[in-house]
Structures are given as structure tokens and as C-alpha cells.
């Protein structure tokens, strides 16, 4: 009982969680670019979720009599080589991209955080073995490793997500381990350990909250790279399989029609990738500034003046 109270006391200097969140958000929105990124992302997520309702056509709705038509009132982004509506396919493509991004980064977030925590907190041999394993994974070029994994597992949406998740795991493991190493030696952690707090309690109450900031920033940046990687894999024909629309796959199809002037087939999926990745990066940058105590005080002081 007394043990518990001591720990609470030691944590007391920290602000209440709710207030911290509000502050972070207002700091984030103070950055206009990041705010724009958040808005665009929200729109993307919304349209991906509502693609069934919003899209004027089904993504497999082919009609050879209307193939390769330029943008018009009926087909805002034109039609592709099978007469399918490019606008609808870009919308459904958003669903694929965001899903792959979320699940893949989810996988690497959980795995990487776990490995990083164990590695950083335990230290010693555990640390050496785990981190060298991560180094091996990390030494492969990201896309190459993803290709290898997909090639072994056979190409599909699920395997693409697994491959990207595995490839991004070392990044999270490193970020988390680095933070854990510094937090582990902080006075308040040592104090609670000396008071007999269990490892689990120390990790969940003290270490995790203090490594959250870099992990959150890394998550939003990794989302961008995961979506890019998925587009690359699909473009190479080993990611998402047709007729399911993915932006990379649409670019692959469009490639044969660049020379003949069907620009809409490549421009719109390309723009979609660009906008998504750019806004994720903006949000990531904004989050990094907002979560960094030094930067935060600068932002706040700027907000005051």
C-alpha cells in the first residue's frame, strides 16, 4: 500500500494526462501545415471508409465501350483501359492504402515496441541478441526485404501487410530501446525500483509513457513510408492483386498508356499517393515539434505573443 502511494507521489510532477493531450493538440494545430495535413488525412480516411457510398461506380465495373475516356461529368477522373471509373478506383485505392498502412505499422508498432522495451529494460545478453537481430533486418533495403518476404509467402493483401510490418519493426525497436535506455536510469525509475516496484509496474507506469512521444512521431512517419512501400510492391505486381484497386497497381496499368496520352490514368493515383504521403509527413513533423518539450515552449510562447 505504501509502495503504491510512493510511486504516485514520484509521478506527481507530471501534469494530468487529459491536459497534456489538449496542449499537444493545440500545439499541433498551431502549426498550419500540420493542421492542413490533419484535415486532408481526415478527409482521406472518411472517403476510404465511405467509398461504398461515395464512389459513383463499383471498382470492378468494367465497360469496354467506355474505355480510356478522358475526365468528364460522368467520370471525374476518366476511365481506364477496361472502362472502369478511375475516380471510384482511387477512392477504393485509399481504402487499401490506409488499411495496409494502418495494419502494417500496427504490426511493427507492437512488435517493435515490445522488442525495444525488453531489449532496453533488460539489457545485457537479451539486448545484444535482440538488437543484433534487428540490425540484420535493418541492414536490408526496405523494399528488397519486403519483396523477398512477399515472394516467399506468395503475393496478397495480407502478406503485403505482414511483409511491411516486419520490415518496419527494427525502426520502432531502435527508437523505443533508445528511449528506454535513458528513462531506465532516471532518478524516479531508480527510486521506484528501490522501493520494490515490479518490472511490469515500472514499465507500464514510468517507462512506456515516457517513450510514447518518439513512438507517436515514428508511427506517423512510418505510415507514410508503409503506404509508399505498398505502392511500390503493388507497382511491381507483387502487392495487392487485381482487380482490387491499389494506387501502385493503377500506376502499373497506366504505364502502358502514358505514351498514348491517357494522362488521367497515371496522374490521379499518383496525386493520391503524393497527397497522402505528404500530409502524413506534415503531421509527423508537426507532432514531433508538438511533443518535444523545447519546441513546445517555443510554440506556446509564439502562441502567446
Amino acid at each position: 500500500m505504501s509502495e503504491h502511494d510512493d510511486a504516485e507521489q514520484l509521478q506527481a510532477p507530471d501534469e494530468p494526462a487529459e491536459a497534456r493531450w489538449k496542449e499537444t493538440l493545440s500545439a499541433l494545430f498551431a502549426n498550419r501545415l500540420a493542421a492542413a495535413g490533419v484535415v486532408v488525412l481526415a478527409l482521406l480516411i472518411l472517403s476510404a471508409l465511405l467509398a461504398d457510398v461515395v464512389a459513383p461506380y463499383a471498382f470492378t465495373d468494367d465497360d469496354l465501350t467506355r474505355r480510356l475516356e478522358p475526365p468528364s461529368a460522368a467520370h471525374w477522373f476518366g476511365t481506364d483501359e477496361l472502362g472502369r471509373d478511375v475516380f471510384s478506383r482511387v477512392l477504393f485505392g485509399a481504402r487499401v492504402s490506409l488499411q495496409v498502412g494502418a495494419v502494417a505499422v500496427g504490426i511493427s508498432l507492437v512488435l517493435g515496441t515490445l522488442i525495444g522495451l525488453i531489449s532496453g529494460y533488460r539489457g545485457g545478453w537479451t539486448d545484444i541478441v535482440l538488437m543484433r537481430a534487428m540490425d540484420v533486418l535493418f541492414s536490408f533495403p526496405v523494399v528488397l526485404l519486403a519483396i523477398a518476404i512477399v515472394a516467399v509467402l506468395s503475393p496478397s493483401l495480407t502478406n503485403t501487410m505482414i511483409a511491411i510490418g516486419v520490415v518496419f519493426t527494427p525502426i520502432f525497436a531502435r527508437v523505443v530501446r533508445g528511449s528506454v535506455l535513458s528513462v531506465r536510469e532516471e532518478v524516479f525509475v531508480r527510486a521506484s525500483r528501490s522501493l520494490g516496484a515490479s518490472d511490469w509496474r515500472i514499465i507500464s507506469r514510468h517507462v512506456l509513457p515516457n517513450v510514447a512521444a518518439p513512438v507517436i512521431v515514428q508511427t506517423s512517419l512510418s505510415l507514410a513510408f508503409a503506404i509508399l512501400t505498398e505502392a511500390a510492391l503493388s507497382y511491381l505486381g507483387i502487392g495487392v492483386q487485381p482487380p482490387r484497386p491499389a494506387w501502385g497497381l493503377m500506376l502499373l496499368d497506366a504505364q502502358g498508356f502514358i505514351a498514348t496520352g491517357e494522362w488521367w490514368m497515371s496522374i490521379f493515383p499518383g496525386l493520391a499517393i503524393f497527397i497522402t504521403v505528404a500530409s502524413l509527413n506534415l503531421v509527423g513533423d508537426g507532432l514531433r515539434d508538438a511533443l518535444d518539450p523545447k519546441q513546445r515552449s517555443i510554440i506556446q510562447s509564439r502562441g502567446v505573443t
Partner: protein
């Protein structure tokens, strides 16, 4: 193309030198020219004049091919890219002429015994291999024995019991049954190439191609290029070129762009959507020839429910091959429910399916099949299959069949096909001539390419009989019956015969696109 840019650079250097040295250009750049261009440009001492000189004397043709030859052994490869190259390196005993009937090549003449079981070939005099050794009957016998033992094309020699070389210029084949199509089989394409007996003994057939063709092998850098040079001792007309460089350019649009900008002189295929654009381009010769290729869908008879002929027929009824053809090839193909194109003597006018989803549904209901999901295997190396697969998926969706499209790279694709690891696949067969090529290996229950596991006694009997039938009309009647049954039982579901599309720069003279896709550059020149 490799050498042209350094050459342009040299010309530029020469100009600069001229400007600096006040007219001493020739003296200054001469030695440089020798050093840098020695390997690629003849012995011409003055690099400044090379471009014009080459145009007059031959020059090197830069040909773009869509993929790497997997190997350069004509007897074991099945890659069309390998044959695009090897067509110019090797010869066969006889070869398909302009009308695709066999004409003399390494064999000058041949005779058949009265019982049709002994064939005697007389070889052309004075033919030498690229290494200088003379072609003898022993080389021919050794080549055929190698093909019969380990080649992809052993089935073409099924009818032959023994090969003999009684003297240096005579080859005798003893047959176990009459084979009216023997010439078509031994000379179908360069997969039946005559290689030297010494190379077979040394095991160097694949590494150091040594043929009798118009061009000899210089080098092969996988992923980059294959270089050939002219064979001055070639027995036939030509070659007029100094050499050929086959550049590997997998991307179709890059290939076309390189032709437009003059980086390459010839390309081995044209995306069908770009036909109109290239035909309108005065700087490009676009060639479109009705070919003997065909594309098809095959269902795995070893798996349920595709062992049920009604299910296979239902799928045939549900598909609209006009749409598949249009989607995959625009106007550059002819829909056909059988294999052999209408330009051929062996064409069979038979189209029992059409597009009839109601009939398809009825057949599926009768067979008691519902909630069917098909694993359809296609490959990006042949992008038309990926396009076709999406149309197939949408058409079969109308009768409640779900299609999972699986794109594999071609080598994996071939392995999966060999293992029977598929519900269905879509692909094509290229460069067939004799009707036996179209049907036997694919649909005979013991055919080497019968990956779908189709087995029908009547088809077997018809194909066996047709092989031996010497009367052409009777033979056609047998193949018509066999083809009818193959179509009715949906061993393959045939889609279309595509046109063969090639393009080249107007400088390329004396080249013709052939319906059997043989790329012969012997009489080609750059002018």
C-alpha cells in the same frame, strides 16, 4: 547503341580540338579515335566519318527484346527471347519458308522410301560452324540424339527410331510409323537446331553457342545485352550487317520510346494500344501480321469441380471472348473458339459457345456447383494475361463464380504450372505451324504440356491417327474431329489469335515480320 554516344562525344572533341589547334583536327583526334572505338567500330581510321561509312557498309543493328534469354542452349530453352537471338545463330535441317512450308536449309534435298519409313537427307556442301569446323552428318545425328534424349522437343522426334550418318553428307532416319509432318517437326524452329558434335561432347552448347547461322555469338551479359557479329562464311544470302546487339528492355513503353528516339533500330513487340500512334509516325515502320499464336484459359482437370465437363463448359459459356480479345489486344487480334487461325489451311470454323450466361448458369445448377472460387494464375511478363484475367473475373462474377487473380513472375508461374498448383491459368502458345504442334502435346493424355490433366480416349485416338495420316485432306478431317472434341470438352477455352506486332526504324531494310515469329536478320541491312 553503346558505341554511338562515345562517337558523338569524339566528334565533339574533334571539333573543339579543331577550334583550338587551328585545323590540326585530324592529327589530333586520330589516335584517340583508334583507341576508344577499336572494339566496336571496324578498322576505319577516322571516327568522324564512321556514322556515314557504317550506313553504307552494314553497321550494327540494335534490336530491343522484352526479356532476358534464360539460357542460350537451343535444345533446352523454351524462352521466346532466347529464340529471337538464336534464330540468327543456328540453322535447322529444313526451315519454314515464307508460306511456312518446309524449304531446304542445311539439308539440300531429301528422299522418302516407298513405305514412308526411311528418310534420307543430303546435306549442303561447304557449310562450316562459326569456329571454322565443317558441318558433317555426324553433327546432325549427334544434335538429334541430344534433342531426343533431353530436349524440350523430344516429342517432335517421337516417330524416329534411329538416326544414322552413312557418310559425311548423308543423314538417314528410320521411322517407327509414317510421319507426314516430319519436315515440319525437324525444322519447326531453332529448338531443333543443329549444333556441333564436339560442343555436345565438351558440354559447351549452352555457354559458347557455335552454329552455322548468319551471325556468330560474341557475348551475353544477362540483364543487359547479347552481341552477335556477322558470319562471313554463311552459306545463304547475307549477312549484310556487321553485327546485331540485342538489348534487353523489359518495359514496353521504354522500348517504344527508345525506337522513337533512335536508341534502338528494331523492337520485338508493340503495345497494341500504340499501333495507331506508331503507324502515323513517319519515322517508324510498324508491322502487323496475322500470326499462328493463340491464347487460352486452362482449368485443372485434376481438381474438383473442374473434373466435371459441365463446369468447364459453363465457364466457356459464361466468358465473352470478344470482350477479352478487345480488352487485351484492342484491334490487334481475332477472337477464335479454336486454336488454329483462319489464315491457316488447318483452320476449323467452329464456335459452339458464344456468350451465354443463362446456359452457363443452367449447367452450373445441373452440376450442383455454387459458391465456386477459382484461383487464376497469370504473369506480368505477359501483361495481356493480367488484363484478360480482370475481364474474366468480372464475366464469371455474373454467374456467381468468384475469381482470385494470382500474379506470379514467369519462372514461378512455370514451376506452379508444372506442379499442377492452380485452378486455372491463362497463357498463350507461340509460333506453331503444324496442327500436331497445336494439339498433341497439350491435349493428348500423355502430352508433355498437358498440364491441365485432360484425358479423353477419343481425342487420343484421333491425335495419334492424324499424326500418321499421309493424305492431307484426310489428316485435316481427323484434326477437325479432334479439335471439335477438345473445344466441346473444354480442355482449353480458346480466346484469340493475336497479330504479331513488330516495329523498326525506316533505316532497317530487308526485314519481314513472319507469322511464325522467326526473327531472321540474315538479309537485313541498315540503309
Amino acid at each position: 547503341m553503346r558505341w554511338r554516344s562515345p562517337l558523338a562525344l569524339l566528334a565533339l572533341l574533334a571539333l573543339i580540338a579543331a577550334a583550338c589547334d587551328g585545323g590540326e583536327a585530324v592529327d589530333v583526334d586520330d589516335p584517340t579515335g583508334e583507341d576508344v572505338t577499336d572494339e566496336t567500330v571496324d578498322d576505319d581510321p577516322d571516327p568522324d566519318d564512321d556514322v556515314e561509312e557504317d550506313a553504307a557498309t552494314g553497321g550494327t543493328l540494335i534490336a530491343a527484346i522484352g526479356g532476358d534469354p534464360d539460357q542460350l542452349d537451343p535444345h533446352t530453352t523454351t524462352s521466346s527471347f532466347a529464340f529471337t537471338v538464336l534464330e540468327n545463330v543456328y540453322d535447322t535441317l529444313v526451315q519454314p519458308g515464307d508460306d511456312l512450308t518446309p524449304e531446304p536449309a542445311l539439308a539440300e534435298s531429301w528422299e522418302t522410301s516407298d513405305d514412308l519409313l526411311t528418310w534420307t537427307f543430303t546435306l549442303r556442301d561447304g557449310v562450316t560452324f562459326h569456329d571454322g569446323s565443317a558441318l558433317t552428318a555426324d553433327d546432325v545425328v549427334a544434335s538429334f540424339e541430344r534433342i531426343a534424349e533431353e530436349g524440350q522437343n523430344a516429342f517432335r522426334l517421337d516417330a524416329v527410331d534411329s538416326f544414322a550418318a552413312p557418310d559425311d553428307t548423308t543423314v538417314v532416319m528410320e521411322l517407327n510409323r509414317p510421319a507426314p509432318n516430319l519436315l515440319d517437326q525437324v525444322g519447326a524452329f531453332k529448338g531443333m537446331a543443329i549444333v556441333s558434335a564436339a560442343a555436345i561432347e565438351d558440354g559447351t552448347v549452352g555457354d559458347e553457342p557455335n552454329g552455322t547461322g548468319p551471325f556468330s555469338f560474341v557475348s551475353f551479359s544477362p540483364g543487359d545485352n547479347v552481341v552477335l557479329e556477322a558470319n562471313p562464311d554463311y552459306w545463304g544470302e547475307g549477312p549484310f550487317l556487321d553485327g546485331i546487339e540485342f538489348q534487353v528492355i523489359p518495359d514496353e513503353s521504354v522500348k517504344v520510346t527508345n525506337l522513337e528516339t533512335g536508341e534502338v533500330d528494331w523492337i520485338d513487340s508493340v503495345p497494341p494500344q500504340q499501333i495507331d500512334q506508331l503507324e502515323a509516325d513517319p519515322d517508324i515502320e510498324m508491322s502487323q501480321v496475322a500470326g499462328n499464336d493463340y491464347w487460352y484459359l486452362s482449368l485443372n482437370n485434376a481438381r474438383e469441380p473442374f473434373d466435371d465437363v459441365d463446369v468447364r463448359r459453363a465457364i466457356a459459356f459464361a466468358l465473352n471472348i470478344d470482350d477479352i480479345t478487345e480488352a487485351a489486344n484492342f484491334d490487334a487480334a481475332t477472337p477464335n473458339e479454336t486454336a488454329i487461325p483462319e489464315t491457316s489451311f488447318w483452320f476449323l470454323d467452329y464456335a459452339p459457345y458464344g456468350h451465354d450466361p443463362d446456359q452457363a448458369q443452367a449447367l452450373l445448377d445441373d452440376a450442383g456447383v455454387s459458391d465456386l472460387t477459382i484461383d487464376l494464375m497469370v504473369t506480368n511478363e505477359f501483361p495481356e494475361t493480367v488484363t484478360a484475367a480482370q475481364v474474366i473475373a468480372s464475366q464469371l462474377g455474373e454467374v456467381g463464380i468468384e475469381v482470385d487473380i494470382r500474379i506470379e513472375d514467369f519462372s514461378t508461374w512455370l514451376a506452379e504450372q508444372g506442379d499442377g498448383n492452380f485452378d486455372a491459368f491463362a497463357l498463350g502458345w507461340l509460333g506453331n505451324i503444324d496442327p500436331d504442334d497445336f494439339y498433341y502435346a497439350q491435349h493428348h493424355s500423355e502430352g508433355v504440356n498437358n498440364f491441365q490433366g485432360f484425358a479423353d480416349d477419343e481425342v487420343d485416338e484421333l491425335l495419334d491417327a492424324a499424326r500418321e495420316e499421309t493424305d492431307e485432306d484426310a489428316r485435316k478431317a481427323l484434326y477437325d474431329q479432334a479439335a471439335t472434341r477438345i473445344v466441346d470438352l473444354a480442355s482449353y477455352i480458346y480466346f484469340y489469335n493475336p497479330d504479331i506486332l513488330e516495329a523498326w526504324s525506316p533505316e532497317v531494310q530487308g526485314y519481314e515480320t513472319r507469322p511464325d515469329v522467326a526473327t531472321r536478320f540474315a538479309t537485313t541491312s541498315l540503309g
